[in-house]
């Protein structure tokens, strides 16, 4: 084998790596985005400095995004058109419960958080029951519950947000903190990263990569019928995916209430809602919409990419132009991710 053919083969292997493995591709994209904005910053084209402090502060928006992205990953992995349009509405409705429990009824914080998470899980269980046991297509069942939860969240407190004294003080949960020991060398990190995001990421990773449940979920998502003949509890496994998604949405509700310092009835559904960005993150992170394929690291990297891209875009434009260009970026990235998935499936066979 001559040196040129070897070189050629290495090159195609690299192309193949980037096309078939989402994680290296995302890592490279993150580096490109960050370097691009650093260069722009150095050239003075941005309205404010884009540095590590800014990137770290921007991570606060990664908390709900990554958590809901993981929630979507679980349901999409479960296969048979799995998707959850209701996560945003669960965030709204569970957030209202948290508002009542902590802000009005004076429950202790830990109890209120557990109750909110449990309530989220219950709302997710309704989805799971409809999809897994009754056989509703996931898109329909979660569209219906999206409407129902959204409506209930608005009606339950007469459209009024709850922002009593204890709720307002919760804002301290979303402040940035200096880490012990290494803290003085790196920027302050938003507290929500440690209290909510990291535990969720670790828990989902352990669930997917280190438990029998995770293996079952991949199995039913890959081939529903084969999994049933292999004796797996298909319905139960799929049902639990929706319950976990609801549970995570319940936790996001707490984060959102703290971030706004108010339990807003439309927190998860206003504007574009929270479900669409979450699905986008999951797909961008390499979760196959057909089920059975997807990894936690992909979703986390996809979140970082979008968060740092959005943060940079915000500085590159004056006024609200930036938020419009964020839509452009998100749409373009999603369309290209989808086309790339189609291309790799055709070129390298896929599953």
């Amino acid at each position: 084998m001559t040196a040129t053919t070897l070189e050629k083969r290495e090159k195609t292997d690299l192309t193949r790596l980037f096309l078939t493995q989402r994680i290296p591709l995302l890592a490279v994209l993150i580096v490109i985005v960050v370097v691009t904005f650093f260069i722009n910053d150095a050239g003075g084209y941005l309205t404010a400095p884009y540095d590590f402090d800014y990137m770290s502060a921007a991570l606060i928006t990664a908390v709900p995004l990554a958590m809901l992205g993981l929630a979507e990953m679980l349901v999409i992995l479960s296969g048979r058109g799995g998707i959850d349009l209701s996560v945003g509405a669960i965030v709204s409705l569970a957030g209202m419960l948290f508002g009542f429990a902590y802000g009005e009824w004076g429950w202790p914080l830990w109890l209120a958080i557990i109750a909110t998470a449990a309530f989220g899980a219950l709302l997710g269980a309704v989805n799971g029951f409809l999809v897994s046991y009754i056989g509703f297509p996931a898109l329909i069942a979660t569209l219906a519950t999206f409407y129902a939860y959204k409506s209930l969240a608005i009606v339950v407190n007469n459209q009024q947000p709850i922002s009593t004294e204890p709720i307002q003080q919760l804002f301290s949960l979303s402040r940035s903190v200096e880490l012990p020991i290494i803290g003085q060398y790196i920027p302050d990190v938003p507290l929500g990263i440690f209290t909510f995001l990291l535990p969720t990421v670790v828990a989902v990773w352990v669930l997917m990569a280190r438990t029998a449940y995770g293996r079952r979920l991949y199995a039913i998502g890959t081939n529903d019928v084969a999994a049933r003949w292999a004796g797996l509890p298909v319905r139960d496994t799929r049902f639990k995916a929706y319950v976990y998604a609801g549970l995570i949405s319940g936790l996001v509700a707490v984060v959102t209430v703290a971030q706004f310092a108010s339990a807003r009835p439309d927190a998860g559904v206003s504007g574009n809602g929270m479900a669409l960005p979450a699905i986008t993150i999951a797909v961008l992170g390499g979760v196959a919409i057909t089920g059975g394929i997807g990894r936690v690291a992909g979703v986390v990297l996809a979140t970082l990419l979008i968060v740092w891209l959005n943060a940079g875009i915000l500085l590159a434009f004056v006024g609200n132009e930036g938020s419009q260009y964020q839509l452009l970026a998100l749409g373009t990235v999603l369309v290209f991710a989808a086309l790339l998935n189609g291309l790799t499936n055709r070129k390298y066979g896929g599953s």
Binding site: G81, I83, L85, L130, I134, G135, F136, P137, L139, I140, A141, L143, A144, T145, F146, Y147, A148, Y149, K150, S151, L152, I154, V155, N158, Q159, G271, N272, L276, I279, T280, V283, I289, T290, G319, N320, Q324, Y325, L327, L328, L330, G331, T332, V333, L334, V335, A337, A338, L339, N341, G342, R346
Partner: protein, 331 residues
């Protein structure tokens, strides 16, 4: 099914013109109207029914296109953003230059058609999942719409589109034009889907795209056509939306409409899996959703409560369909 079927036998092979779901929907709407007529005397008056019919039109019209898309096994979640783009283009044209009704409709329809073409092209030839692509294009369309909006609202829209509006100019013999046009288009598409080879191809693609392709259906062209049709209808529906509003158009126009349209389609009995459905059902589904919204306000309840009923209707309508499918299988 035999291939050598003679024309009369072919007609016999067609399913019944009105599905069970549609009969039930007609019944439910009739019961609701009767109940509302009894509880609120103002309901069965022209002043209450005409706005209801006008408000039904855009959702039902986009629903006709969405039904075709869903029959082919796809979905289009970008229609809400597409409505925004078409509305703002048309509104700006109306404000900027004094065009007449026909030109305004043409501009809106062309804009919608172009957006539909983008979706259709990506989905048919990019061979990627429709929901993902349309999530992406929804963001792109929203960007486009907001850019055209510039900042804030479009003000001082002239009454050129009053032909489709709520006012006196928007009615003939008491029937709103927007509703009439929607009903005519629904009927035409219903006939096309049911009685022409081209129409049946959409069902074939939704049933099994691979088999349809081997049977000689030009799958990609048909899929492209489905999204193009949806885009064109979005364009027309945007004219209805502008006409129903005030002389000001704000940036929230079309927001959330995609889910309302999908709700109407699935309440109408169209299977989200593709291969089965009817535009008549969608029309009735849109009418039902609007009746509930109108009824909730007239009863003096909180208007947001109507969403809860929409959710319940989706569960009941699709649940009934699932039960029927189970019965069909076990027979």
């Amino acid at each position: 099914m035999t291939i050598t079927a003679t024309p009369p036998a072919k007609i016999k092979n067609l399913p019944s013109p009105v599905t069970g779901q549609e009969i039930v929907l007609i019944g439910v709407i009739a019961v609701l109207w009767a109940a509302l007529a009894v509880s609120t005397p103002a309901f069965l008056t022209a002043g209450s029914l005409q706005p209801l019919l006008v408000a039904t039109a855009p959702v039902a019209l986009v629903g006709v296109g969405m039904t075709i898309v869903i029959i082919t096994g796809g979905i289009d979640v970008s229609v809400g953003a597409a409505i925004m783009v078409c509305s703002v283009i048309t509104a700006k044209t109306l404000v900027g230059s004094d065009v007449n009704l026909a030109v305004a409709v043409l501009i809106s329809v062309l804009a919608g058609g172009a957006l539909g073409l983008i979706n259709g092209f990506l989905i048919a030839y990019g061979r990627v999942h429709a929901i993902i692509i349309t999530f992406g294009t929804a963001n792109l369309f929203m960007f486009l719409g907001l850019q055209i909006f510039g900042s804030g609202t479009v003000n001082g829209i002239p009454g050129t589109l009053g032909f489709f509006g709520r006012g006196e100019a928007g009615r003939t013999l008491g029937i709103p034009h927007a509703f009439l046009i929607t009903a005519l288009i629904t009927a035409a598409v219903w006939w096309y889907l049911r009685h022409t080879a081209g129409g049946r191809h959409f069902f074939a693609i939704g049933g099994d795209a691979q088999a349809a392709r081997l049977a000689g259906v030009r799958v990609q062209r048909r899929v492209l056509l489905a999204y193009l049709t949806t885009g064109v209808l979005v364009g027309l529906a945007s004219c209805f939306v502008i006409a129903q509003g005030t002389s000001t158009l704000d940036q929230s126009v079309g927001s959330g409409k995609e889910l309302a349209v999908i709700a109407a389609v699935v309440i109408g009995g169209t299977s989200i899996m593709g291969g089965r459905g009817s535009v008549l059902g969608t029309f009735l589904g849109a009418l039902l959703v609007q009746t509930v919204a109108s009824g909730v306000t007239q009863l003096g309840w909180r208007s947001q409560l109507s969403d809860l009923f929409v959710g319940i209707f989706i569960i009941v309508a699709v649940g009934a369909d699932l039960l029927r499918a189970r019965a069909r299988r076990s027979r």
